[in-house]
């Protein structure tokens, strides 16, 4: 049962075929068995999970029929959870116990979900391989010698391996979509402002957005229904009605105009991935969609612009970790300078330090215009490219990542790692919704198709992704770890 989708589990729970306690216990058992090798979880909340499951079963007995009632989930360890450790993958927050819940956590709990624990991630979400985590690398369920992608690598691995039927993630430059692609699952990033950022630890405030990691687009729709909406505690969350996502899933793709960005099929794209993505697009075409080549003329500037804007914001966002009020503090500081220097030198990993330095530099007197201001101008151009494109197409589709999951340690050069997000970053810079859905395998490793929609086109993106999943069964494939686990369990 652990390889079922949320939609299926919801039905099982509703029919009384299983209870939430049984389901939760099964998840916890599989976590205990597989997590030592996968390292997908940083914190496992066994006791509270079983209590929440029991409460969900009681509510169901009293007639509660909410779709997510009793469904287990895992939260990326970037979301603050009251009285449950929230590390953000960093030594500096190793022992941090938030006295509050993130809005996302609160809303999903109110929807009746059961929190299994907190998932591993790149430190402060800075990374594309989950290798920058202070809590160690995460194995890809398809090949534990390979990375799950990042930064939401723990969430992606947990869902792919059946440790949890769904998980939250955050996406600043591709951190949901790229790990979803590497782990063969569905990863959805909504428009900027659609989901509250309150209680979600900031990396780059103007780009960060919470989203979902699930086994299907229909599951993402269920989760999004619970997560989306205006939050008065987040001034950047938007005041517009939340669509009924599940309701729009069934619209056929006949007549849909799909933009295919030429720059995404240029050199650097793995040929097998390219073939797979072309085949996926052909599936949509056969179902009645039309494919239209588009240009995103400034797409090549998205990585450099991102690596100015995101580190600049991060350099300020991470200033609060100073050893004064909470979090890691160095031993016996000699004076204030020493307290700051050693706390931050010892508390942050190399990639975080690198980005703080880059961001600080980009904002410095004399460099601001050349870097930060210029990057913001480029960002507006990139957004304009999408606005122009959406005048002639309904969605844009292409590869999520140029290749499949790579082995641990394969990308030692930071810039090579930064180029991982070449197809996803522009979507964050433009603030648009995007999803990665499984679209094929190369050498037994999955890769994803990215579908991007216009501003607040969540329903349309989920709809097209769901329709694609009606036409294909890539999303039903399981890694051997999960398939074998299922045999062992049943």
């Amino acid at each position: 049962m652990l390889n079922l989708t949320v939609t299926e589990l919801s039905a099982e729970l509703a029919h009384g075929a299983i209870s939430s306690v049984e389901l939760t216990r099964a998840c916890l058992e599989r976590i205990n068995r597989l997590n030592p090798a996968l390292n997908a979880f940083i914190t496992i909340s066994e006791e509270s999970a079983l209590a929440q499951a029991a409460a969900a079963d009681r509510a169901r007995a009293e007639g509660d029929e909410r779709p997510l009632l009793g469904i287990p989930l895992a939260h990326k360890d970037i979301f603050c959870t009251r009285d449950t450790h929230t590390t953000c993958g960093s030594r500096i927050l190793q022992d941090f116990l938030p006295p509050y819940d993130a809005t996302v956590v609160e809303k999903l709990r109110q929807a009746g979900t059961v929190m299994l624990g907190k998932t591993n991630m790149d430190e402060f979400a800075m990374g594309s391989s989950n290798e920058t985590s202070y809590f160690g690398a995460v194995g890809n369920p398809y090949d534990q010698g390979r990375v799950p992608g990042g930064s939401s690598g723990g969430s992606a691995a947990a869902v792919a391996a059946g440790l949890s039927p769904m998980a939250t993630g955050t996406d600043t430059g591709g951190s949901i979509r790229q790990p979803a692609s590497f782990c063969g699952i569905t990863g959805f990033k909504p428009s900027y402002g659609r989901v509250s950022r309150w209680g979600m630890i900031a990396f780059a405030s103007s780009l960060d957005q919470a989203g979902t990691l699930t086994r299907s687009a229909a599951d993402a729709a269920l989760m999004m229904q619970a997560m989306a909406g205006l939050d008065p505690r987040d001034s950047t969350s938007v005041d517009r009605p939340v669509e009924d996502y599940a309701c729009e899933l069934g619209i056929p793709v006949k007549g849909l105009r799909v933009g295919v960005p030429r720059p995404h099929f240029a050199a650097g794209l793995n040929p097998a991935v390219e073939r797979g993505i072309r085949a996926a697009l052909a599936e949509l075409e056969q179902a009645g969609a039309s494919l239209i080549d588009i240009d995103l003329p400034n797409n090549h500037l998205s990585v450099p612009a991102y690596y100015v804007v995101a580190p600049a914001e991060a350099s300020a966002n991470l200033s609060r970790y100073d050893g004064v009020r909470y979090g890691y503090r160095c031993e016996n500081p000699a004076d204030l300078e020493d307290l700051y220097t050693r706390t931050r030198s010892e508390g942050f990993g190399d990639e975080v330090k690198r980005r703080i330095l880059v961001g600080t530099y980009a904002l410095s007197a004399g460099y601001y215009d050349a870097y930060y201001r210029k990057a913001q101008r480029v960002r507006r151009l990139i957004r304009q490219d999408f606005i122009d494109a959406f005048r002639q197409v309904d969605v844009i589709a292409g590869p999520t990542s140029p290749h499949v999951a790579f082995p641990h340690g394969a990308k030692a050069d930071p810039v090579e790692m930064y180029l991982e997000d070449i197809f996803t970053i522009a979507v964050n810079l433009a603030g648009l919704p995007g999803i990665s859905v499984p679209a094929g395998f190369e050498n037994g490793l999955p890769f994803g198709l990215q579908i991007v929609g216009p501003d607040f086109g969540e329903a349309r993106v989920l709809n097209v992704a769901h329709q694609f999943q009606q036409l294909t069964d890539w999303h039903r494939r399981l890694p051997e770890t999960a398939a074998q686990a299922e045999t062992g369990e049943s």
Binding site: F79, C80, T86, C88, L93, F96, P98, P99, Y100, A102, R197, W198, G199, M200, I201, A202, A204, S205, S206, P232, R233, D234, S235, T236, A312, E313, S315, A316, L318, S319, R320, D322, V324, R325, Y326, L336, Y340, T360, L363, S364, A365, Y368, Y372
Partner: protein, 476 residues
């Protein structure tokens, strides 16, 4: 040759909102350390700012009061620096798009003239917490109660030419924020803080190099600090030296300014737009609503007082310097129907009492109603002006009822002709020598005789009538 001082002020005014600029925490003064700091004020991970609408409206009120352009699209920025009492490691402030643009303030100088001082801009920002270095051995304490309190930083053009002008500007600013009810303006509590940029030059020459004096916390110290700095710069330049552009601290104990250590000033704040807050869009309707709610401001009220109550410009200025004083005066004037007398009593007797007791007019022991009653009794000749001062002292001591005091203590003025005549006769009898001197032409003696009569009546006789009767009797 003469030197001319060129001074600009940067004034931080603490806005009197109930809660902080970006969090719902109370701003009440004097709570136990760190009891008024919520998870946002503590900069806990994942917390976000939400702009306090009241602070925004207060800033707009100020902008409209000084005829300034209002920033229709104003933007918050992060000003980055590390300090233990700055929890986020950046201060949320405004750089390029402040809420209040160019405006001006008219100041009143001691010689009775006025001068218009340009206001460059005013922007909203959050205050830092407090570092407490003395209270702890081998450690510093941090109190974050003040962290996040809304400030309006008001920057003047370099239009001020003397320490006295600077003080006049500061006093007018103080008066305006009090009239607008956007701050208590209390410099001793830090609700109004002033940094002064000072340079000197030969009249008509290019601007000289300026220094910035920080942390001056009273009107008097502003004057002293600027005067010290002007003299210091003169000495340096006249000795052939150069002024170093630097930040200096004023030490009120030694009455001098001295440079801050380089480490404290060499900052690159790396400002950039605050991504957690959207630009603040201010529409015409909000501006017009706030404009319609503006109270009468000190300059307008001064003009009205001069015209309506026929007061001198000076009296009108004194009485309108604070909103409370002006309100008090108007109540007295309307209650007694004699603005001249009311102006006199408020600006002389009442002011002396407040100065003596070191009280604000809001805490005056003599209510406006009581003072109006008292003046009414002078006007209807129930008591003399002199006796009125005795009654006033009783009001100051806590009594309330003017007529009660007069009756209980028999202070009613004697106007009965027969009684006064008896008094006068008795004075002439008892002071025969002085009476004769007057008859011999020594006019000055009359005052003495009147005084004796008043003394006999214990001040209650109508002094004018005593005077007349004495003259009549001594001439006859």
């Amino acid at each position: 040759m003469e030197w001319e001082a060129v001074i600009g002020l940067e004034v931080h005014v603490q806005l009197s909102t109930r809660s902080k600029l970006f969090s719902g925490t109370s701003t009440a003064f004097g709570a136990e350390p760190n009891t008024q700091a919520n998870i946002y004020d503590l900069a806990m991970p994942g917390t976000l700012p939400v702009l306090n609408g009241e602070a925004l409206r207060m800033a707009v009120r100020f902008g409209l009061a000084i005829d300034a352009e209002i920033g229709r699209h104003s933007i918050f920025d992060r000003k980055n620096y590390f300090y233990p009492d700055l929890p986020k490691g950046y201060q949320t402030s405004q750089l390029d798009y402040p809420i209040v643009g160019r405006g001006s303030i008219v100041i009143n100088l001691e010689d009775g003239t006025e001068k218009r001082i340009g206001v460059t801009r005013a922007h909203m920002e959050e205050d830092a917490g407090k570092s407490l270095h003395e209270e702890f051995a081998d450690a510093s304490g941090i109190d974050l109660n003040r962290a996040g309190t809304p400030l309006l930083e008001i920057v003047s053009d370099p239009d001020l030419r003397s320490a006295k002008e600077a003080v006049a500007y500061l006093k007018k600013l103080h008066s305006i924020v009090r009239y607008l009810d956007i701050s208590d303006g209390d410099m001793s509590q830090g609700s109004m803080r002033c940094d002064a940029n000072v340079s000197i030059r030969r009249p008509g020459a290019e601007l000289g190099t300026r220094t910035e004096i920080k942390n001056v916390n009273s009107f008097r110290f502003v004057e002293k600090a600027i005067n010290f700095e002007i003299r210091r710069q003169q000495d340096v330049l006249e000795d052939g030296g150069n002024i170093v552009q630097e930040t200096r601290l004023y030490d009120s104990v030694r009455d001098e300014t001295r440079p801050m250590r380089g480490k404290e000033v060499a900052n690159d704040y790396r400002y950039f737009p605050e991504p957690d807050l959207l630009p603040v869009e201010i529409g015409e309707d909000l501006i017009e609503r706030i404009r319609s709610e503006l109270p009468e401001l000190p300059d307008a009220r001064k003009r009205r007082f001069a015209a309506e109550y026929d007061l001198s410009a000076y009296d009108a200025g004194v009485l309108t310097a604070s909103r409370e004083m002006a309100d008090y005066f108007e109540q007295v004037a309307q209650g007694c129907g004699d603005a001249k007398l009311a102006a006199n009593w408020v600006s002389v007797e009442l002011q002396a009492l407040l100065n003596r007791e070191n009280l604000d007019i809001a805490d005056s022991p003599v209510s406006a109603g009581a003072l109006a009653d008292l003046i009414l009794r002078i006007r209807d000749k129930t008591i003399s002006g002199k006796i009125a001062k005795t009654v006033f002292e009783q009001l100051a001591a806590g009594s309330r009822d003017v007529d009660g005091i007069i009756e209980r203590q028999g202070l009613r003025q004697v106007t009965d002709e027969g009684e006064i005549e008896k008094l006068v006769d008795r004075v002439i009898d008892e002071n025969a020598a002085q009476a004769q001197q007057f008859r011999d032409g020594k006019q000055q003696v009359l005052g003495y005789l009147v005084g004796q009569a008043m003394k006999l009546s214990r001040g209650k006789a109508n002094p004018a009538r005593v005077n007349e009767l004495l003259r009549d009797k001594l001439r006859s």
